[in-house]
Amino acid sequence: MTDVVVAGVGIHPFGRFGVGYRRLGAVAAAEALADASLALEDLDLILVANVTADMAKGQNVIDQLGRPGIPVLNIEAACASSAGTLLVASQLLASGAAGTILCLGVEEAPRGFVANAGFEGWQIATGLGVNPVYFALAAQELLEQSDVTIDDLAEVSVKNHAHAVNNPNAMYRQACTREEVLGSTIVCPPLHLLMLCAPNEGAAAAVLMRRDEARRRGIADAVTLEAVTVVSRGPDDWFVPAVSFQTATRTSLTARAASLAFEHAGVGPDDIDVVECQDTDAASELYAYRDLGLCTPGDEATLLRSGATALGGAVPVNPSGGLLSKGEPLGASGLGQLHELVQQVRGRCGRRQVEGARRGIGHVMGAGHNASVAVVAR
């Protein structure tokens, strides 16, 4: 898979705009095509990641840009939808079945409660169909089973919001203090409002091709997609919307996705300079530290408190501000991370640049039990 490259990226800022998903997606797609010096008609295939829009959503977005008549397919895996487009694209390119592919993630999430997360009717009726409940239970387990404290959870939010001050594409760009985080409304204890991300609107896109095609086209700043893995539910995982799990043998989707990604890329966690991970809530970022191999289980608080995962540290996590600051346009999340990672290894992130970044990983998780890790390098 090291033969697949990202030839161009584009993004529509994340936030609340009310312009409709067609417009959001068209902006990101056009920017990615321009970045790769490609016309819409140069593409073989368009893969569109989206969760909440109507049928043929990808087709409706592309129609804003032109009518190339090529296959447009919509891919959905909840918050890991973007990863699905990257997986399919990379495999088609590696096999030679396609030459140039546009991967586009776009979302105009309804405000407030994330509905349709796959809960059965009885779960919803009995009050169990609530996504933050899952994050809160996992957060409490982390507090109980490690030396992570509520202050550490607040610090994740403080860190990521500080990063977003320098990200014009993030929804929330103001720094916050630990006191403000701990003073925000308790949503599902122990999680406060400022420890949880908000679903919103946005889009991000990437043009993928093989390295030889990028050379032929004279694309100077292509970034290698060293690996992208997607895993779904194994026998012993637990995530939204499952109501039960095996007590003694709970496994991690993220750990499996990461292990496979490192294996495919031929690298390890020590080779990573920058991380964009799924901080749907503050505790999820700390779990990602262990599951992505950034620390051993039990050392999450130590890693955070050392400053290693803040800008300027050894392995900055969520220099974009993460979901906590960007918000979460569900289908666009993973491609938004790819946009950040590509720009980081290209050295184009300005005041949030990770010095000397050459290799980064992106991590998303989705309801229904989906997880993905992508590795990019220059």
């Binding site: 409660f113 009995t126 169909g129 007590t247």
Partner: protein, 133 residues
């Protein structure tokens, strides 16, 4: 969304609210794994599974609460939600009734009970009164 629950999740199905019930699970004929809700095949070894009932008593391993009414919920806020670990090796999420959040603690024993959900009956947990340890 009506209050009707599509299949029995517990027995006895016609239990009165507040009475103790047992969750309906499946037990794998080969590896003994219990699954809730019940399924025909074991997700672990794929052998056939047979219906079984869980013990009615479990232990709280984590808990939280919900204060804002979620769309479609037929229960009143605020309510507590717990993960309860059963002796059969499976942990199941459930609402905890008849308790304030500050009365719950990890390690508490709970009984599975029938509880009103809209115009139907569902399952929930209730703090058990333990007379011996």
């Amino acid at each position: 969304m009506t209050g009707r629950l599509p299949r029995p999740l517990f027995e006895p199905e016609s239990a009165a609210s507040g009475s103790i019930v047992a969750l309906s699970v499946s037990k794998c004929a080969t590896c003994g794994r219990h699954e809730f809700p019940h399924r025909d095949r074991c997700p672990s070894c794929r052998s056939g599974s047979a219906p079984a009932l869980l013990s009615t008593r479990a232990r709280v391993t984590a808990f939280t609460s919900v204060s804002h009414p979620p769309p479609g919920a037929l229960v009143e806020v605020p309510y507590a939600v717990a993960i309860a670990a059963f002796p059969e090796g499976v942990s199941v999420l459930g609402r905890v009734v008849g308790v304030r959040l500050d009365e719950l603690a990890i390690g508490d024993a709970v009984d599975t009970v029938a509880a009103v959900v809209g115009d139907a009956i569902g399952y929930a947990y209730r703090l058990a009164v333990e007379t011996d340890r």
